[in-house]
């Protein structure tokens, strides 16, 4: 099944690298949507069918954590798997993210293999 994926990061270069990595990893992608912060992401999630979200934590306007909190308040959005892609390596922060319902955490810099493994695990468990 081709996945509609939303990539949320304030860095254009990171969004581009994630898109390229998904391609290299051989993930079956339908449409890819991009957002520069959590608020833009929520607007896209409101309009489009999204199967999987990759999101950074530290972004202007609305952080990835705030975005996840907002998604949890919505009956439909809370079912969409969110993968956090961030530079942070704090185990405490990762535990906090998991408690919020985040499905996986990928630390930058990442490899295509890591992306593929995470996508496969999420889709198999869905």
């Amino acid at each position: 099944m081709a996945l509609n994926i939303l990539v949320v990061d304030d860095s254009k270069v990171v969004r581009s690298v994630i898109k390229k990595t998904l391609d290299i990893a051989g993930v079956d992608v339908g449409n890819i949507f991009e957002a520069g912060d959590g608020k833009e992401a929520l607007e896209i999630l409101d309009k489009e069918w999204i199967d999987l979200v990759f999101a950074d934590i530290n972004m202007p306007v609305m952080t990835g954590l705030e975005m996840v909190d907002r998604m949890k308040e919505d009956g439909i959005l809370q079912t969409i798997p969110v993968v956090i892609v961030s530079t942070e390596g704090s185990e405490t922060r990762i535990e906090e993210l998991k408690a919020k319902g985040v499905r996986a955490y990928i630390r930058k810099p990442f490899t295509p293999e890591t992306i593929k493994k995470v996508v496969d695990e999420i889709m198999e468990g869905k």
Partner: protein, 157 residues
């Protein structure tokens, strides 16, 4: 961790990040070995708060930014879209370096909130030389480009 160890840790982390992210390679260099033949530089800055607070900056010749971006994107440095991504690429290198430096020096239980990086271009050689002479700056050499990093940290009580 004393000052020398801290500088070595930051340099090692930076070399690892720029190699993995942009396929560019760092080499050991002493300050007196660095010859700078550039007149314009770019500097990215960001801060962090949490179990400690501080700032990190990176200054590079402007000519290096398109190369970082091209390597991130896997395209030729002459590609028309590279310029659009140049600032973001330097900011991202700083962002990832900051996260990994904090883990390296404060451990995996420490929690930080990182600010969004800012960038300034068109910096003159005089400002580069001022940072270069500072005892706080860390000099690196990446693919023959000189790079300066400045890091400050203060523990929260």
């Amino acid at each position: 961790m004393d000052r020398k160890e801290l500088k070595n840790t930051i340099r090692d982390v930076f070399y690892d990040i720029i190699e993995k992210s942009a396929f560019m390679f760092g080499e050991e260099v002493e300050k007196d070995e660095v010859d700078v033949n550039y007149d314009k530089f770019a500097r990215a800055d960001m801060g962090f708060v949490g179990d400690a607070k501080g700032e990190i900056s990176i200054m590079v010749p402007e000519a290096m930014c398109p190369e970082i971006a091209a390597n991130f994107l896997g395209v030729d440095p002459e590609d028309e879209k590279v310029d659009e991504y140049s600032e973001d690429a330097l900011k991202e290198i700083l962002n990832v370096t900051c996260g990994h430096v904090l883990t390296a020096i404060k451990g995996e239980r420490a929690v930080f909130d990182l600010t969004v990086p800012n960038i300034k271009r068109g910096i003159k050689l005089k400002e580069w030389e001022k940072l270069f002479r500072s005892e706080d700056s860390i000099v690196c050499m990446v693919d023959d480009y000189p790079v300066l990093i400045k890091f400050s940290i203060k523990n929260e009580d």
